[in-house]
Symmetry: C2
């Protein structure tokens, strides 16, 4: 369903979607037109969702990242729905996942500075009751692959 050649193309495009078809073709030993068809196929079948611009967060005034762990007030469908609604309304919360273990949710918050976290915290507690909320500031990005381990 997905040949090694397709994976190689995906690997190129996840690093730079502006790569000319001629360059892609040279790397995977295919003609530019054939690459075009493969890529169209990958798009139609949902392997490639869309192309996006990678913006330098620091450059646009959002250098700070805070991870927040949350444990639920109650384990009920109502609380879950309310929590989902709360985080959806706060744009600084850019990612929320539900986890196994004693911590229920992990939130990634992107901000101009650590001082701004207080705003997000207050916005959150105003919308939903939580058992525990624990914020950790990102001091350093050790690895940012931003790329999937393909192949």
């Amino acid at each position: 369903m997905l040949t090694p050649r397709d994976l190689a193309i995906l690997d190129i495009l996840q690093r730079d979607s502006d790569t000319p078809l001629a360059d892609i073709g040279a790397k995977v030993h295919l003609s530019p037109s054939a690459c075009s068809r493969r890529i169209a196929h990958l798009r139609e079948n949902g392997y490639i969702r869309r192309n996006v611009a990678m913006i330098d967060r620091a450059r646009v005034g959002l250098p700070t990242t805070v991870f927040v762990t949350v444990s639920a007030r109650t384990h009920s469908a109502g609380w879950t729905e309310q929590f989902r609604h709360a985080v959806a309304q706060i744009p600084e919360i850019v990612e929320v996942v539900r986890l196994t273990g004693s911590i229920d949710y992990l939130l990634r918050v992107v901000l101009p500075s650590v001082d701004d976290y207080d705003r997000v915290y207050k916005a959150l507690v105003a919308r939903i009751e939580m058992n525990t909320v624990n914020a950790s500031i990102v001091m350093e990005t050790v690895k940012a692959a931003e790329t999937l381990p393909l192949g």
Copy 2:
């Protein structure tokens, strides 16, 4: 240095970098050529780093995400360097940040299945001694903005 119009353009491009200049121009009330120039400036000045393809992880056989918290064995320059080197060598570890608080590092691991985590764990402990290692499996993605809160 960065007008509201520039932010609007960035907001469009971080969602879909294939948006034609004519469409962008219509939204920000600018001609396509003017948009082209603005974007070129944004690239040159480092606001836009590059364009990348968003790949559907599940579709390419990597549906599982595991977050791992690590506390250091010792707080020394040597350990830190060795840890940095260790995570750099393991492709499944796609993101590593150093945090404030009792947990030193947060790792994001992308895998075909939860069973594959054991491989990553063993690869990690073979390379670096750690005080505590704690893995939490992502059960559900509640919010995946994948977009910065601009404007």
